[in-house]
């Protein structure tokens, strides 16, 4: 199997493709594969040349933290829960999320996610629920990993200047539902930075590793 990885040494450096050969089991995840390439022995590319180890973010390694978000065969995915035997073909292409600045190889800077939530005061403050709150949906929404996959896949998300992506809609909904004093503000914040621009491609729902039904957040806030 050929593994093609889009690499970049430094934040300002040029990106370049490097390929590796792999003929081990396909019963492993892309995360385990990256570990294997890095640490099985010296890391050798498909020209037989020793190269530098591949940089990537990881933490829980079981789909609970969102660290290892990257684009695998053109699909924004978590490396730890994407398995080789579920992928088609004999070539695997991995590149960093392109909507965020690259720090090193597959490591990107996702601080814009927090910055946007901060600048728009998306916080509950005090639990003061609206009546008829949808508890189940709030539970799902609060599981958001802030992984950025929904932003990567979204045709409307550029760099987070004014449209902030699906995770933003979810967090707005959480605040809207959990503190009725902020409900009105959240609706307009949502409209300014999500609702008015979203073209409802809903591709975010296809890639969300937590399977958060964003459409429910949108429906509640569009009401």
């Amino acid at each position: 199997m050929k593994i093609r990885i889009l690499r970049q040494t430094e934040p300002d450096g040029d990106a370049y493709w490097e390929s590796f050969d792999y003929d081990g089991t396909r019963e492993i995840s892309v995360a385990a594969l990256l570990d294997h390439l890095n640490y099985n022995d010296d890391i050798i590319n498909d020209d037989g040349v020793k190269t530098t180890r591949i940089g990537w973010d990881r933490s829980c390694m079981q789909g609970m933290c969102g660290a290892c978000a990257m684009v695998i065969n053109e699909v924004p995915s978590l490396a730890c829960d994407t398995f080789l035997n579920k992928l088609k073909g004999n070539t695997l292409t991995i590149r960093p999320l392109r909507k965020f600045p690259v720090i090193h190889d597959l490591i990107v800077d996702r601080s814009v996610i927090q910055e946007n939530l901060k600048s728009t005061d998306v916080y509950i403050g005090e639990y003061n629920p609206k009546e008829n709150e949808d508890h189940r949906h709030q539970y799902e929404v609060a599981k958001c990993l802030k992984c950025g996959l929904c932003m990567e896949v979204c045709p409307n998300y550029r760099g987070g200047e004014s449209f902030y992506g699906a995770m933003f809609a979810n967090d707005c909904y959480l605040v809207y539902a959990r503190n009725r004093k902020k409900s009105a503000d959240m609706k307009s914040t949502y409209a300014d930075h999500f609702g008015r621009t979203c073209s409802k491609s809903l591709s975010c729902m296809d890639v969300c590793p937590m399977n958060i039904p964003m459409i429910a957040s949108m429906a509640k806030l569009n009401r």
């Binding site: 933490s59 660290a67 927090q114």
Partner: protein, 544 residues
């Protein structure tokens, strides 16, 4: 206004920052990656507290007694009393900031049973308690960010504390983006760096908790405590990427442990301990599995598929995804793995270390859990300890001026530049691998004098070469400079385990299988220019 620097943004670091800000202190929270990636998000089961929701007959004193008993009587009574007395407030606080607890039809938080407790008192948020708490605390941190009282900074790693004459003035950090060391001066430094997972390689937790900070502070003069007490979880699924925790709920639903002998299933726990054998404590089950010395399986396939879907959906999904196993058809191969560290940085009741203005909170500190932790008590301790440290810092009057650290910092910069400009094909990762092999072999759940001594010899050898291997430019700078701290911590843990010639809680010595009253105290270890000195805290200087 006082400046507080907090290293680590899991639940304990977040709780401390938010409390500091609430008191009007200015808190800077640093970590390499955001709170969403901390180990705290993995905590599934719940958080203990006696509240109005609890069963009749339960009381705070009962929670205290369960905790002290679970910790095999070396936890401090005052410390544990403080923890349990504040537990109800903590649940109310978490509710008040909007944590999505599992609630009953009246909107009141629900409780479940957890091992080692006389009553049901574990409050939970579905199967993602830690994650839900982190989400709520992040929102609170954001609220104070808007007020300018909290700043959260990413891509920064702890390098060392800025200490002079047993007083701390902040920390030296490694900036991953600028690729250089930066000093950060503060009136107080709070460590919230989590457990020591990396000593053992793959564990149930995250590789970001490596124990380096504890090891480095130890080398800088901080005492460590109870390092020999490491909790193993009996049922984990080994995969190519990690050891995944298979929840106790499987055994709670009737799951049976067995091994195969000549095609026959031997239900060894039931054979030895009767019908409830599979539900014995984590330590005991772990040791029994270890003693079997062959592949052990956990079977729940006899349960109706619908029941599995309703009662064990997370376990079903995890086994299917990561192990390719349909648990309604096939038993799960399981093995014990490192899960939680009761030991860590020694702290007094106010969570300050033996170095003035240096604090430690959460799993990186050793407090409350004694020789063994009750499930659900560590999330509680993470929040409570963050609060205690913040209150104590608030109570201090002075705004500090720091001495001149320029020379010391230049020295560290030179060392790092030297490390980075040298060339070697010998990877630090290989030394880390050798370390975790040693720890898994010699600091396993069953220990003897000879295995511990072998472990010490091995780690001493690794320490002797660590000074000679050079920078591996392929690895992150942090991975390189953290090696010596990790090895030193491992050496301290092995030394602590060797010094405790009895068995207690999670520490089991095959050559000293009984509990010995003379050892009913915490182990302290200090570092003096390469010497590792242990003693029992008989005066209960730290935890009383």
């Amino acid at each position: 206004m006082k400046n507080v620097l907090i290293i680590g943004s899991g639940i304990s670091g977040l709780a401390c920052a938010v409390k500091c800000a609430g008191l009007g202190l200015y808190a800077t929270l640093i970590s390499p990656v955001s709170s969403e990636r901390s180990q705290s998000v993995m905590a599934a089961g719940g958080i203990n507290a006696v509240t109005e929701e609890c069963e009749e007959g339960d009381s705070v004193s009962c929670h205290i007694e369960d905790t002290l008993r679970g910790g095999a009587r070396i936890g401090g009574k005052n410390a544990v009393t403080g923890l349990c007395e504040h537990a109800g407030d903590i649940i109310r606080y978490l509710e008040g900031i909007g944590t999505v607890f599992s609630v009953d039809s009246n909107g009141r938080p629900m409780i479940r049973a957890f091992g080692g407790q006389s009553f049901k008192r574990t409050h939970y948020c579905g199967s993602s308690t830690g994650k839900q708490i982190v989400s709520a605390l992040i929102m609170e941190a954001r609220r104070y960010e808007a007020d300018g009282l909290i700043e959260r900074k990413l891509r920064l790693d702890f390098h060392s504390a800025l200490i002079k004459d047993w007083e701390c003035f902040g920390a030296l950090l490694y900036d991953e983006k600028k690729r250089l060391l930066v000093p950060f001066y503060a009136d107080a430094l709070v460590m919230a760096t989590g457990g020591q997972n990396a000593l053992f390689g793959k564990t149930t937790g995250t590789c970001l908790c490596d124990g380096y900070a504890a090891g480095k502070l130890f080398m800088q003069g901080a005492d460590l405590k109870n390092l020999e007490f490491i909790q193993f979880h009996p049922t984990t699924l080994e995969t190519a990427q990690k050891k995944m925790l298979i929840s106790e709920a499987v055994r709670g639903e009737g799951g049976r442990l067995f091994y195969e002998d000549g095609g026959k299933r031997i239900y060894f726990m039931e054979d030895k301990y009767g019908p409830k054998g599979n539900l014995q404590t984590r330590d005991l089950v772990s040791r029994e599995i270890n003693n079997i010395g062959r592949d052990v399986y956990l079977d729940i396939s006899f349960l109706d598929k619908k029941q599995i879907d309703v009662k064990l959906p997370e376990v079903r999904d995890l086994c299917r995804k990561y192990g390719g196993i349909d648990i309604s058809q096939t038993p799960i191969p399981v093995a014990p793995a490192v899960h939680f560290f009761m030991g860590g940085i020694a702290v007094h009741l106010n969570h300050e270390t033996n170095i003035k203005d240096l604090y430690a909170v959460g799993e990186c500190a050793s407090m409350y859990h004694g020789a063994n932790r009750l499930g659900g008590n560590s999330l509680l301790a993470a929040i409570y300890s963050g609060w205690v440290a913040a209150d104590d810092i608030f109570g201090r009057t002075e705004n500090k001026t720091h001495p001149d650290f320029d020379r010391a910092i230049r020295n560290e910069e030179d060392k790092l530049t030297g490390l980075m400009s040298s060339k070697s094909s010998f990877s630090v990762i290989h030394i880390r691998d050798m370390l975790s092999d040693t720890m898994r072999k010699d600091m396993n759940m069953i220990r003897t004098e000879s295995t511990l001594k072998e472990g010490i010899d091995d780690v001493d050898y690794l320490l002797s070469v660590a000074g000679q291997i050079w920078y591996d430019s392929s690895e992150s700078t942090y991975t390189n400079y953290s090696l010596t701290g990790l090895l030193t911590l491992a050496r301290a843990a092995l030394t602590s385990a060797l010094s405790r010639t009895e068995s207690r809680g999670a520490h089991f010595r095959n050559d000293h299988p009984d509990m010995d009253d003379d050892y009913a105290f915490s182990t302290l270890i200090s570092y003096d220019d390469g010497a590792y000195n242990t003693c029992l805290d008989k005066e209960r200087v730290y935890e009383n």
